[in-house]
């Protein structure tokens, strides 16, 4: 069965946990001993009180600290299974939201119909755009508070669509729901007959799972090299493309050309391997590979450079100052680098430009920057190949920022 991971984001108290509770409850995805326990305690079967109790139970878990961080929950429809990444809404937990969102294939952006678009709504939407999550469903929740009225729905929807348009996100659908009462989540609402689009789970079922890029040229970043008997096996995961015994490949950074002698699996023999597979290779000639080397197709190799443009998201309380050296990690490559220009420094929720040609970046700010690495690295534009188009910065071994490459060939 197919599977898909999505994240629910939005302003605090706009109904993320109620929606999760509703999805689990209405798709019958909760352990039965738990439901029985709730029924015993509330003396209620299938009623409002039971659902309210379930939410309290989930809420209690939240208070114990369970969704201070990112949590994953599972449910299933007839089409596929889902993993929900539950992201906290408080501003101090943006770091955790980014962690959750970086694993997601799609997102639900939830907005309170009464309150409308708020600061965190925009910040979270912007993070989605930075992380390249293009599949977004907008849900306007708490429609019960606004009398299930179409006018209010249109107003909030137009407001968010305008903002999303400005950051390049085109949502797949916009759905009026009441998570609390179960309207338009799994069940079609009789109170909002004016809504002609799908209910939420139908819309989820229409999303696409992450496509593994087999049709692109080969990229195999080397993780490690193991000496086994008299063989040197270089291991890694094929990020894009595929590989076959006998293929001639190029190794970056050395530029050497060699041939694939064998593809190694435990207790298996294979002549060909595809994107997404963690494999081992043995090469002909005495080519010595190391962690951080990129095995690719000659003539179709990635950009090999020490200077490129990126958007970065600063994720730690200690500011970045322009003369500081950072460690950059891109796939398995790692080197030291400097940010030689912060073209623009922006507030991640309002997208307001705080400063042009800045010298500093603070927590939760976004910078349009030019990076200069100590040694050249193999990269791609994020829009072309995500796996070599994204990177993190580390400071004292802690990840302090994430970024995506906007122009691999240097300054814009």
């Amino acid at each position: 069965m197919d599977s898909l991971k999505f994240i629910i984001v939005g302003h605090v108290d706009h109904g993320k946990s109620t929606l999760i509770g509703r999805l689990l409850y209405d798709t019958d995805s909760l352990p039965h001993d738990r439901i029985e326990e709730i029924r015993r305690k509330t003396g209620d079967r299938n009623g409002e009180r039971e659902f309210a109790y379930l939410l309290d139970h989930l809420e209690e878990e939240r208070q114990q600290g369970i969704t201070i961080d990112t949590t994953q929950v599972f449910f299933k429809t007839n089409v596929r299974q889902y993993v929900i990444i539950d992201a906290p809404g408080h501003v101090e937990f943006v770091k955790n939201m980014v962690t959750g969102a970086s694993q997601a294939e799609a997102a639900i952006l939830i907005i309170d119909a009464a309150e409308g678009v708020k600061e965190q709504t925009k910040r979270h939407a912007y993070i989605l755009s930075i992380l390249g999550i293009s599949q977004v469903i907008v849900v306007i929740n708490k429609m019960d508070l606004v009398g299930y009225g179409q006018d209010r729905f249109n107003e909030v929807r137009d407001d968010i669509l305008r903002f999303l348009g400005s950051i390049g996100i085109r949502p797949i659908s916009s759905i009026p729901i009441s998570a609390k009462n179960g309207e338009n989540v799994v069940r079609v609402s009789k109170k909002m007959k004016w809504h002609k689009g799908p209910v939420l789970v139908k819309s989820l079922d229409l999303l696409k799972s992450r496509i593994i890029s087999e049709d692109k040229p080969l990229l195999l970043p080397i993780q490690d090299v193991y000496k086994m008997d008299d063989k040197r096996i270089s291991v890694g995961r094929i990020e894009t493309g595929n590989l076959a015994v006998g293929n001639r490949v190029k190794i970056l950074p050395s530029g050497q050309i060699t041939e694939i002698c064998s593809i190694e699996y435990y207790l298996q023999k294979k002549k060909r391997a595809f994107a997404g597979e963690s494999i081992g290779i043995v090469t002909r000639d005495s080519v010595f590979l190391n962690r951080g080397d990129i095995v690719c197709e000659a003539e179709k190799e990635p950009v090999f450079t020490d200077n490129f443009s990126a958007n970065i998201f600063w994720l730690t309380k200690e500011d970045f100052r322009k003369d500081e050296r950072l460690t950059i990690r891109c796939a398995t490559q790692e080197t030291s680098c400097k940010i030689i220009r912060i073209g623009r420094r922006m507030d991640s929720s309002s997208l307001e430009v705080i400063e042009e040609d800045a010298c500093i970046l603070k927590n939760l700010e976004v910078g349009e920057v030019v990076i200069e690495t100590k040694k050249p690295i193999a990269i791609k534009d994020y829009n072309d190949v995500q796996e070599l188009g994204r990177f993190v910065f580390a400071r004292d071994n802690d990840i302090c920022a994430g970024g995506i490459i906007t122009n691999s060939r240097g300054k814009v």
Binding site: P31, G65, T71, Y266, S278
Partner: protein, 266 residues
């Protein structure tokens, strides 16, 4: 690539990433279904020759079947096995009747501390999964523990794409969780596909089987007639009782698991 292939390849990627970062590592093998699955993935990642020790924390209260399984497969798979026991606490007759929280802390967490102290491991592989317990759901794949083994779950480092935390001087060790995204049913589907041997306690005898195993005194079987892997998979698909419902330490107090884990429990 199907769903199980995706999980397998991602886990092998994580296993190799941790070994590349830390080198001086070990794997915890409780001999349950999850860690036996992890052990298989580790063997795959290193082409059958695991370059580090496998640690079994022995409370002395485990089921006989667990000890038999350990002896048999440690030999068959050529494992470098370390058995970690808190002999001091055992000589003082520590046991569950003295309090389950105290017992788990002394015989498991403290036994682990002794092993780490002795071998100076920088990272440990553990087979925990997000779906088995609420408090495990918020784990990172690479999760730091400080010198007191404490887990600061309110302030975890971000984990973006496949870039993980590396160890700093202030941390005792990093816990590595290659199975975090697997569910109970995925484990069983994988056991079936790979034909992995599993402790017989998981299979039904006289209408009862264990869904989760640990110490004999603190595990209760569930009613079940599933005596083959296929039947277990079918059972998981149709009836839904939470997996750890037979585990004493989860029920005794709503917070006991969180307390145990913040002190360094697995």
């Amino acid at each position: 690539m199907n769903y199980l292939d995706k999980l397998e390849n991602q886990s092998i990627f994580i296993i190799r990433e941790a070994y590349a970062q830390f080198r001086n590592v070990a794997m915890l093998w409780s001999i349950g279904k999850d860690s036996t699955t992890l052990l298989w993935l580790v063997r795959k990642a290193f082409f059958g020759k695991i370059p580090f020790p496998v640690v079994h924390l022995d409370t002395s209260y485990k089921f006989n079947e667990i000890y038999e399984f350990r002896e048999r497969y440690a030999k068959e798979w050529g494992l470098n096995l370390i058995v970690g026991r808190n002999e001091e606490a055992l000589s003082l007759k520590m046991g569950p009747e003295k309090g389950k929280f105290e017992c788990c802390t002394m015989l498991k967490t403290d036994a682990l501390k002794k092993v780490i102290e002795k071998y100076k491991f920088k990272a440990l592989y553990l087979a925990i999964r997000r779906d088995e317990h609420g408090i495990r759901a918020k784990e990172r794949i690479f999760s730091p523990r400080d010198e007191d083994f404490e887990w600061d779950y309110k302030n975890q480092p971000p984990e973006l794409w496949d870039q993980y935390k590396t160890k700093t001087r202030t941390e005792e060790h990093i816990r590595v969780h290659p199975l975090l995204g697997w569910r109970e049913i995925d484990i069983w589907e994988y056991i079936k596909r790979e034909k992995l041997p599993i402790v017989s306690l998981y299979y039904s005898k006289r209408g009862l089987r264990y869904r989760s195993i640990g110490c004999a005194c603190c595990c209760n079987p569930v009613k079940s007639n599933a005596d083959t892997v296929d039947k277990i998979i079918n059972e998981l698909k149709t009836s839904r009782i939470s997996e750890r419902s037979g585990r004493a330490q989860d029920k005794e107090s709503a917070y006991i698991m969180q307390k145990l884990r913040s002190l360094g429990y697995m």
